[in-house]
């Protein structure tokens, strides 16, 4: 493998990994605080993708349509997430884990079919927006600029989220609720509102990822299933509920997907699951998570 092919492969692996990081970070934050493993998280991501297609094609006359979309679509997705939390999830926090799975699975069916109804079954594409289209040459090698842009986005969101949780009073409240729900409630924190807020934040991140992905790939029904499985792998590798863990896990998974095919092509699809099993057996709390 030439150096150019190698770095190109690594770069595209990491940039896909960064998009997955955004989705996984949302999943992980929701699990950390609400203790709900949201199976429909990938579907929320897919909704972001369809909204990206819808808005960029409707706003095509306006200059910078994609950038407006990048601003609007995730907010809309967050709003949908808020409705789901208030109307449905809120009623089953006290129930067994199984009911959460089944309820969020039902959401996959409902939202998936709604997308099919509104957008049809064909693949949707979105053009790479100016000014991040084209290639850029670094150290004499040429890379697609959009990949670098995605990596930048991933790193930016990671730092911003970490700062939000670490340094702001809002982050302190979320950490308090995550740590001890009853105690936080006794101290006057409106826990249900925090739950709604966290679920909306998680959905926002999924929507953001969904909006960023289409220029590099396509929007298609069924992409939700693929993404949610990859997110499970990421959060298990990094540690459920850990933000740096999700970041590390996403990079590892991205590289594994990019290079696995060169090691044993037949088993490339199984590598991430094997890694997941090894981690679950020897370090079930993940590389950067905390033991229970």
């Amino acid at each position: 493998m030439t150096l150019e092919a190698f770095t190109g492969q690594a770069l595209s692996g990491i940039s896909v990994g960064m998009v997955l990081f955004l989705v996984a970070a949302g999943l992980s934050i929701i699990f950390g605080t609400l203790k709900v493993l949201n199976l429909a998280h990938g579907t929320i991501y897919m909704v972001g993708g369809f909204l990206c297609y819808l808005l960029t094609s409707k706003l095509v006359q306006i200059p910078g349509a994609f950038w407006w979309t990048l601003f609007i679509a995730p907010v809309a997705v967050a709003a949908i997430g808020g409705v789901i939390e208030v109307l449905l999830l809120r009623r089953i926090y006290a129930q067994e884990m199984l009911y959460q799975y089944i309820l969020t699975f039902a959401l996959i069916l409902i939202i998936g079919d709604a997308c099919k109804f509104f957008f049809g079954v064909s693949y949707k594409t979105v053009a790479v927006p100016w000014p991040v289209n084209g290639n850029v040459s670094l150290w004499g090698l040429s890379f697609p600029l959009y990949n670098l842009f995605l990596i930048g986005c991933g790193i930016f969101v990671f730092l911003a989220l970490s700062a939000l949780i670490r340094y702001t009073s809002l982050g302190r409240i979320v950490r308090a609720v995550t740590h001890n729900r009853e105690m936080a409630s006794a101290l006057g924190i409106n826990v249900p509102r925090v739950y709604t807020g966290v679920f909306m934040l998680g959905s926002y991140l999924a929507g953001l990822a969904g909006t960023l992905m289409p220029p590099m790939s396509v929007v298609a029904l069924g992409s939700d299933m693929a993404v949610i499985i990859e997110c499970f792998i990421i959060v298990v590798i990094g540690g459920l509920g850990s933000l740096p863990g999700a970041f590390l896990g996403a990079i590892i998974l991205g590289l594994l997907n990019a290079f696995g095919i060169y090691i044993i092509p037949k088993l490339a699809l199984a590598f991430p699951f094997m890694l997941m099993i090894v981690i679950l057996i020897i370090r079930p709390w993940g590389l950067l998570g905390k033991p229970e």
Partner: protein
């Protein structure tokens, strides 16, 4: 003697025999398409009961039953097409192979509980799916295996129905005996409180592994029966969407009733076929039904019916005595 007429009326054995008799009459009453629909329900009911041994009785939420179901289906398919094995050996080998794979998978999975157990089972099922999907030389990859040579006797839908019914009835009876045995009682105590069960010197993990293996065994039979019924196998049998189908079947019927998955399977397959006939958006309506179930009928149809039935029974006994 406390056993009176009402008690006997509500006894499980009587109902089992009645249902079995009714099922035996099915091919004489209904058209071929209905018979094949009921055949599908029977196989799904067996898969659901096998899963429910873990889910409802052991409290182990598995996301990967479809993986072992597919192992059973592919074992029969490959033995028949590739090795020309005698038909009954190909069918009977399937649960054994599924149980062996189940032992390996279960050995890893029972090391963790709750959400990690669920994710481990999911990961293993996906690996099984990947192996089936990628190993063209052996499993024929995503083309699946079609036109599997089954004996000519089973070409008629009526015969294949009786074949499935016999297997499913025996297996469900055995599963019923298992959950009623001391083993089943221990499994339920593990579900209620694993730590306390460990304190009374029960090797919890070994029991969970045993439940996993038994469950795999019967999932293997269900897969094999479906392979014989459909005459073809595809990698999708191992996909996690199939696993969630099975989970929904259990939940729909009610996981705390033995008959739950049987009722769940009938209703689920009926609903999905009826809705699918009238609209392409059947998943939407199925989703709405599931949401309704989770929010308002958490014990499933069987739980709901059992509650009504016991109230009725009490009223009857009240008037009698």
């Amino acid at each position: 003697m406390t056993k009176n007429l009402t008690d006997r009326f509500f006894s499980a054995a009587l109902w089992m025999i009645l249902v079995l008799l009714a099922l035996m009459l099915v091919p004489f009453v209904f058209s071929q398409s209905v018979v094949s629909l009921i055949n599908e329900m029977l196989i799904m009911a067996l898969a659901g009961c096998a899963l429910n041994l873990m889910l409802g009785y052991g409290g182990m939420v598995s996301f990967g039953p479809a993986g072992l179901y597919a192992v059973g289906a592919y074992s029969t398919a490959i033995l028949l097409t590739r090795y020309g094995a005698p038909f009954f050996i190909a069918v009977l080998a399937a649960p054994v192979i599924a149980a062996i794979i189940g032992t390996i998978v279960g050995w890893f999975c029972v090391r963790r509980s709750a959400v990690y157990f669920a994710l481990l089972t999911l990961a293993f099922a996906q690996i099984i799916w990947t192996v089936i999907f990628e190993w063209y030389d052996f499993t024929n990859g995503d083309n699946g295996i079609v036109s599997i040579p089954i004996p000519e006797v089973l070409y008629s839908i009526r015969n294949i129905y009786y074949f499935s019914l016999a297997f499913v009835a025996i297996c469900i009876f055995v599963l019923w005996r298992i959950v009623r045995s001391p083993f089943g009682a221990t499994l339920q105590s593990i579900r209620e409180n694993p730590m306390r069960t460990e304190f009374i010197a029960v090797p919890v993990r070994r029991y969970q592994l045993a439940a996993f293996v038994i469950s795999s065994f019967f999932l293997g039979i269900a897969g094999s029966l479906f392979c014989v019924f459909a005459g073809s196998v595809f990698p999708d049998y191992a996909h996690w969407v199939k696993s969630t189908d099975m989970l929904v079947v259990c939940l729909l019927g009610g996981i705390h009733n033995f008959a739950g998955p049987i009722i769940g399977s009938s209703v689920y397959i009926l609903i999905s076929k009826v809705i699918a006939k009238n609209t392409t958006y059947w998943m939407f309506f199925l989703g709405i039904i599931i949401v309704f179930l989770v929010l308002y009928m958490r014990n499933g149809i069987a739980g709901f019916a059992a509650e009504k039935l016991s109230r009725w029974k009490n009223r009857l006994q009240g008037t009698n005595g």
